[in-house]
């Protein structure tokens, strides 16, 4: 349980894509974010659950 709460289920990481571009995502385990380069968004992972919503994502400026 604790492991599941601190990290994303690997079965999800395999299939998740950006909800906007439908392109694959990069997993940043340190920052607990899923990054969509094309959409320039970083989706937060909270309590082990990626929040795949543009409104909740951090804008990437680089």
């Amino acid at each position: 349980m604790t492991e599941e709460k601190s990290g994303v289920d690997p079965r999800l990481l395999e299939i998740l894509v950006c909800p906007l571009t439908k392109e694959p995502l990069e997993y940043d385990a340190q920052a607990q974010e899923l990054i969509s380069r094309k959409a320039r968004l970083a989706f937060p992972i909270r309590d082990g659950i990626p929040i795949m919503l543009a409104d909740e994502a951090r804008q990437l400026d680089d």
Partner: protein, 255 residues
Amino acid sequence: MPKPDTAAQFSRQAEAYARSATHASDADLDIIADFAAPGPEDHCLDIACGPGHTAFRVARTAGLVVAADIAPGMLATTRRLAAERGLDNVVVQFADAGALPFPAASFDLVTCRIAAHHFPDVPAFVSEVARVLKPAGRFVIEDSMAPDDPAQAAFLDELERRRDATHALSLSRGQWLKVLNDAGLRITDEKIFAKTHDFPDWVRRMGLNDGQVEAIESWAISVPATTRQALLDVEGTAILRLRDNKLILRAERPS
């Protein structure tokens, strides 16, 4: 496109929904399971999973079930209940029904039980379902069905909205067939069944207080009897029961 108030409302109501007799009852889940026929190799997606009733039913025979919702409270409840039941083939995921974070052709089965009437854009949702389904993949949808009579449909929508501001719109059977057809899905089975709700339980599940319930009752009793009597059982100034119809459709993505 998701409405944050919907997420907040359902996060608050997650435990009430998990306990609710209406939501856990098996009659419609049996039909959904029969239509869906999940197999051991099937990857399944349950959209707007709530506290997981449909996902858990599908998980009995499915390979993997992704239970998706926009209410973190519902996802937490679903994850806890799945763990308690030893269902390790259920994973929870935050997802907006109108912009699914999954690749094209990634699921054998998509289910959505009594939730689409909350969605702001049902055609966008169905088009996303058609996209993520594999060829020959199945979509089983259950929702409150709007009556064909426009006055009754308007009354029922208004009643739902007064009870729960996150209610958007219920579609009639004809509207559902059109939306599914427009998304390129082929309808293979359907079932309509009548549902009777204990009105006090139904209306209070959304956390309304006595004053709010009384306001809804006096409004509902004031509408023309021909409209009201088709849907409500009233005794004096109290509404005892609400009767509506649920529509369950099974559709396939052409292979």
